[in-house]
């Protein structure tokens, strides 16, 4: 594009400056996201929405590791989110554990499910993977549904309350929405930091190599199957944390947190925001939930709008919001 002479040099300069800003944001991406999310509740209409965006941004972020960075479409990530929720919920309701072990249990539970599901699904390649993961996640859904003594079955698991959280020097209660937001914020920022480190590591480079050309990655001597499995499990851990936080946020675990529609939400958020981009999942979660919040006040037919918007993005803006912004900056 650079060989086309620009008539308006002013525009070009401001474009370059903007691109410079974007570049420096990209360089300090963890800091940028953390700072933005720190001030985020101030610009949101109410805190619960901010908490939702935080949690689903994390969910989409974890999902994006597999979909955006490794190029493998999974339709089973609801299983990790849901199991993260249920394990945390069960730890608090049935085992009487406090919030920290409960969250850890949620993440670990999601990790175990990801190991099993990944082990079964990872050998199926390409488009097959989406179907297999979807079916396996639906299997988890029915399993949890059946174990109603532990999970509450159709009604979901109720009474997931973390109560007073005492950090020794500081005490607060999750009933306070602002406290809840910043409580979740700490976990999300740690997760984002880890995520960024993973992407920057040699392992992260192998993931992108697999996305670009699986056979070449294999020919270079990388164990593609094992790498895929690792990525799947790591992605499951992040989604499990998101689910775990969601259980504390809602105080209940609805059975819908395991349904494949939720996997679809992760897919849609990633694509809306921009798959394979660092900020994309959060941008996508924000766009998705804000739109949902606005449209559901006007009509009950939100899925109609969602489906239409999603189709428009697939057809005309496959790079997503943030991806398109990046693309536009590069010009």
């Amino acid at each position: 594009m650079s060989d086309i002479p620009m008539r308006d040099t002013e525009l070009q300069v401001s474009g370059n400056r903007l691109a410079g800003i974007v570049r420096s944001i990209a360089r300090h991406r963890v800091l940028a996201v953390s700072a933005f999310l720190l001030l985020f509740p101030l610009i949101m209409p109410y805190e619960a929405l901010a908490v939702n965006i935080l949690i689903f941004g994390l969910f989409a972020l974890g999902f994006n590791l597999v979909f955006g960075y490794m190029g493998v479409l999974s339709f089973g990530h609801a299983a990790f989110f849901g199991i993260g929720s249920y394990a945390t919920g069960i730890a608090i309701v049935h085992l009487g554990l406090s919030w920290l072990p409960a969250i850890l249990l949620g993440v670990a539970g999601a990790g175990v499910v990801a190991m099993i599901m990944g082990g079964m699904a990872i050998r199926s390649r390409g488009i097959y993977f989406a179907m297999v993961t979807l079916a396996l996640a639906q299997c988890v859904y029915y399993l949890v549904y059946q174990m109603s003594d532990w999970t509450g079955g159709e009604d979901g698991l109720t009474g997931v309350k973390a109560g007073e959280i005492n950090l020794g020097f500081f005490e607060f209660n999750l009933v306070d929405p602002t406290a809840k937001y910043y409580f979740m914020y700490v976990f999300v920022v740690i997760a984002i930091f880890l995520f960024s480190r993973i992407l920057n590591s040699p392992f992260g480079a192998v993931l992108e190599a697999i996305r670009e050309n699986e056979n070449r990655a294999r020919a270079c001597g990388y164990n593609v199957l094992l790498t895929k499995w690792y990525a799947f499990v790591i992605s499951g851990l992040f989604c499990g944390l998101a689910g775990s936080l969601n259980a504390l946020h809602l105080s209940v675990v609805p059975i819908e947190s395991l349904h494949y529609h939720l996997s679809g939400q992760a897919v849609m958020m990633s694509l809306l925001g921009g798959m394979g981009t660092f900020f994309g999942p959060f941008v996508g979660a924000m766009a998705f939930l804000l739109l949902e919040d606005i449209i559901t006040t006007m009509t009950t037919h939100w899925p109609l709008f969602l489906g239409t918007i999603f189709m428009i993005f697939v057809l005309f803006f496959p790079k997503g919001i943030w991806g398109s912004v990046l693309h536009w900056m590069k010009r």
Binding site: L73, M120, A121, R123, S124, R125, G126, I127, Y128, A130, M131, V132, L134, A135, L136, Q138, C139, Y142, L143, Y145, Q146, Y260, H261, G264, V267, M268, L271, H301, P303, L304, L306, G307, T308, F310, M311, V314, L315, P318
Partner: protein, 294 residues
């Protein structure tokens, strides 16, 4: 478990075959579309639901079950034509995931449109007079309507087989599945073939919908679980394999039906256990070709 008689087992197997017939119709459509277009149709459940509602609409209009049965696949197939032409076609060559994502969005839209038109509650769909009651099979009485479903599925499968194996258009379909590039070089407009195959696939899904309307309740969400079941069938049978879809469909139907007799609480899970076993032993599915998915 010893008190389960042989007759009961035979009847339950027959129930499984009737259930499996619906799976077969769904699996064939899904497999046909995938085999040629390499599109995983996530809206397949929605087309199934559309079939049931098209049945409700047409039977209200004509009052004739047989006419409805003949018209529903045509109506749903025509919707499929439009979807392939205007929504799926722009995505060819842009990566295998995009048509899948698009049809996922389409599924949401179709379900919501039906919800706006017909509401959330179930719509009754009566079994036609001629097919009510039960028929003696020698080892017990069996609902006539279910025998009818098995029969009509056998008819459709045979017709499709003849169409694909014996007609010249079927020859183009088969060669298109093997190498679309060469077909195009030889002067055949492959995009027309894809259009028609997509219409056939969705039309058969619509037929499955109207056929199961008298057995299940007709609600906008009826396609949600069906989509997963159809996926299980294609994974077990092998993607893109029509024989696989038939065998796996019947197998899944019988397995679900027998489990619900022996251990009712596990009936929802049984098909997934079957799928997991197949994945562990034969990841490409019972009739899948190795490397097709590569």
């Amino acid at each position: 478990m010893a008190n389960i008689s042989l007759e009961l087992l035979a009847l339950q197997t027959f129930t499984g075959l009737a259930l499996g017939s619906v799976f077969v119709l769904l699996g064939i459509g899904l497999s046909l579309i995938f085999g040629l277009l390499t599109v995983v149709n996530f809206a397949h459940g929605a087309f199934y639901m559309l079939g049931a509602y098209a049945g409700v609409f047409l039977i209200g209009l004509t009052g004739n079950f047989w006419l409805t049965l003949a018209l529903v696949p045509v109506v749903v197939g025509c919707i499929g034509l439009g979807v392939e032409r205007f929504l799926v076609r722009p995505l060819y060559g842009r990566g295998i995931d995009y048509p899948l994502l698009l049809t996922f969005g389409l599924g949401l839209v179709l379900v919501e449109l039906v919800r706006i038109t017909y509401g959330l509650d179930g719509v009754p769909f009566d079994t036609p007079k001629e097919l009510r009651g039960a028929t003696d099979l020698g080892f017990g009485f069996f609902p006539t309507y279910r025998i009818f479903i098995i029969g009509i599925t056998a008819l459709i499968v045979t017709a499709l087989w003849l169409f694909i194996e014996k007609t010249s258009f079927g020859l183009v379909i088969r060669s298109g599945a093997r190498d679309p590039e060469i077909v195009r070089v030889l002067g055949t407009d492959i995009s027309k073939v894809w259009l028609i195959v997509f219409a056939i696939g969705t039309g058969v899904a619509g037929l499955a919908g109207v056929l199961s309307a008298p057995m299940r309740s007709v609600i906008p969400d009826m396609g949600t679980t069906v989509l997963v079941e159809a996926f299980v069938v294609t994974v077990v049978g092998g993607m893109g394999s029509l024989v696989g879809a038939v065998v796996a469909g019947l197998l899944v139907g019988v397995v679900v039906s027998i489990t619900s007799l022996v251990a009712p609480e596990l009936s929802d899970l049984s098909m997934f256990v079957l799928m997991a076993l197949v994945l562990l032993i034969r990841p490409q599915g019972l009739f899948g070709k190795k490397g097709l998915m590569g």
